[in-house]
Amino acid sequence: MTGSVPQALNTLCAGLILIAAFAMVATRQVQGVVRFFVVQSLLLTASCFLLGYGRGSIHLWALGAITIACKVIAIPLVLRKVLPGDYYERREISQAVNIPASLLIALLLTITAEFLAGPLVSAANDPVIRVNLPIGLAGVLIGVWSLIARREAIPQLIGILAMENGAFLAGIAIASELPLIAELAVAIDVVLIAVVAGLLTRTIRETLGTTEAAALRALKEEPASWR
């Protein structure tokens, strides 16, 4: 593998992004999840800048700037504004799947992602794609898992945004000449998602008194005798 410095550092960033994804599954605090998401977004930005430098693409620099503006700055701010004040002190005391098992499943998903991306990686012959594509796909799958395993509302949302991070990590390697308008629109969309989800969470909290998504079980197809 040709080891130019930007590529090596990009590999480092990708490895740390994977660690951040695991950390998002492993942590209990809501605040912890948001923090790891910010860390992951920062690493994604670093990867953008490194690839932009390595490929000489102004495009990627712009994308990195957009990512910082939206994911590192805007989304935590939006969440702080929109969510009720004491929301960040919440912790998930019990989970459906305990943390070591949850981490094990995340690991299995990483292995699945490596398998899925295998034929594509050998088709491309680019060391950057070889690193970014499997880890991006793993980020998406781990995001899906953390969505399922979480009980609180905002960690579920952060799981979705972490999936976007994964998709972007792969995207900057494979689709780096995407029109800038598209990137911009995607970024705005991400912020909108945060806004909508935050508003919903607040309304749910006000109406139902709790934000645990597992508490929402009124609409199910159960026979009347079981209720």
Binding site: L120, G166, A167, A175, A182, E221
Partner: protein, 482 residues
């Protein structure tokens, strides 16, 4: 020009609804805009039939046969829903009356997003459009802040937004395949053209991701669990648009992808589509048997029809493609009619439970006859349009030699038919269970909307006008490329 107006007008209307002095006029603004957009989309469709495609902004906004068909469907349903909404929303809780401008503003933004997706030619912006659809519909579903509505909105939000990054990955992968095959500016046309030279592995992964991601939005099993909740808890005009077109639009994107994939030498994917479509139909049919809420009943029927469209597209013959697009059209108009009727019943009776509704004929003959009409239509009885499209799909399957598929599909359709009529029978006939309160007259706009929505259903059931047929042929051609 017309294309750009179609996209711009709803945005303008949303802005106008937001401006304080015009807030009370929110409904008329929405209504006028919606019908104007419908007229414009008819214009676009006529030009597409004549020229083959309409170009608004080259490379960005283009419409071919399939897009034009979608534009017509979307604009018709949202126009009728806007009509229905006027009277219906006035009957809602008083505290939400002051928020009605927000409802209409949202509704216009929702319509904008729904229209922008077929009008766009650049696939990545299509992704953004589909996401906007999801976001605005989440806001609309959660409009009534009851516990049920919020739960539905949350489940809906999580499950559909979850599909977004997966689909985004798929779009990135498609772009990669396209660029590696030497493509230039990415449009649907360009993708179809270079489909044969794209790397099949990359294309397969891309389609898989987009199918999972957007399938969640379409309500394909097993990602359909949000659909009954969202489509029953939302305000009824919104339900009509949700069921009628909002599930069809992501399916439209999936079908575009499918046509690209099938143009490359990987025809085996069609078999998988058939299987997955049949699974959706099966799950919906069996769930229909034990549903307890009539809006949920119609929502499950949406799942069933989405499955049928997918199966038809998977069969990948010219006749099956024609059946698929015909089904899209007919389902949209029929399903929205069903929800208008459901809304009328809700206004009359006040509850959504099937078990509480008895003897509707004695209470409100208008509602009961409309109910019978629309449920026969949606279940697929002749002489209604859905019967025509399902029949054409089944006969296309027979001609293609897929006897097993046709047999299973026919059985499932019959099961769904029986289930729907069983429930409707309970509701319409018999003695009224109790006095349903004072018989307040239905709002005029609701009645008008129901009658107006019923007209295309009656007409298309027996006769497909030549321009409509041409449009459908064009759309089917886009789908299959045969």
């Amino acid at each position: 020009m017309a294309l750009m107006l179609i996209v711009a007008l709803p945005l303008l209307a949303a802005l106008l609804c937001w401006i304080r002095p015009l807030r009370n006029a929110a409904w008329p603004i929405t209504l006028v805009t919606a019908w104007a957009v419908f007229a414009l989309s008819i214009l676009v469709a006529i030009r597409v039939i004549a020229d083959g495609r309409v170009i608004g902004l080259a490379g960005w906004f283009e419409a071919d046969g399939l897009s034009a068909l979608m534009l017509v469907i979307v604009s018709l349903v949202s126009a009728l829903a806007a009509l229905f909404a006027g009277g219906y929303m006035q009957r809602t809780e008083h505290e939400e009356q002051s928020r009605l401008w927000w409802f209409y503003c949202n509704y216009n933004l929702f319509a904008f997003a729904l229209l922008v997706v077929p009008a766009l030619a650049e696939p990545n912006l299509v992704w953004v459009g589909v996401e906007l659809i999801t976001l605005f519909s989440v806001l609309l579903v959660g409009f009534e802040s009851t516990a049920g509505a919020l739960e539905a909105a949350w489940k809906f939000a999580v499950l559909t937004i979850m599909g977004a990054p997966i689909a985004l990955f798929g779009f990135f992968t498609l772009f990669w395949a396209y660029r590696s095959a030497g493509g230039g500016w990415e449009t649907w046309e360009g993708l179809r053209a270079s489909a044969a030279s794209m790397n099949p592995d990359i294309l397969k992964l891309s389609f898989l991701l987009v199918f999972v991601g957007f399938g969640a939005k379409t309500g394909l099993a097993p990602m359909h669990t949000w659909l009954p909740d969202a489509h029953s808890q939302a305000p009824t005009p919104v339900c009509a648009v949700l069921s009628g077109v909002k599930t069809t639009v992501p399916l439209y994107v999936i079908l575009r992808f499918l046509s690209i994939v099938l143009a490359s030498p990987m025809a085996r994917l069609g078999h998988w589509m058939v299987v997955l479509g049949l699974i959706s139909v099966a799950i919906a049919a069996f769930l229909l048997l034990q549903v307890r809420d009539y809006k949920r009943m119609f929502a499950f029927s949406t799942v069933e029809h989405m499955g049928i469209i997918l199966t038809a597209a998977g069969l990948a013959t010219q006749a099956a493609d024609y059946g698929a697009v015909l089904q899209m059209l007919n389902h949209a108009i029929t399903k929205s009619l069903c929800f208008y009727v459901a809304g009328v019943i809700l206004l009359t009776i006040g509850t959504r439970e099937i078990a509480s509704v008895r003897g509707l004929f004695r209470v409100s003959p208008f509602a009961a006859s409309a109910l019978l009409f629309c449920s026969l239509a949606i279940a697929g009885a002749p002489p209604f349009p859905i019967f025509l499209s399902e029949f054409s799909i089944l006969s296309a399957g027979l001609r293609a030699g897929q006897y097993a598929v046709v047999a299973i599909l026919a059985t499932l359709i019959v099961i769904a038919f029986v289930a729907i009529l069983m429930h409707v029978n309970q509701m319409a006939f018999g003695e009224p269970a109790r006095l349903y309160g004072s018989k307040t007259a239905l709002p005029a706009s609701c009645r008008t909307a129901v009658v107006a929505a019923a007209l295309p259903v009656i007409v298309l059931g027996v006769y497909i006008p030549a321009p409509v047929n041409d449009l459908l042929q064009l759309a089917a051609h886009q789908l299959g490329g045969h």
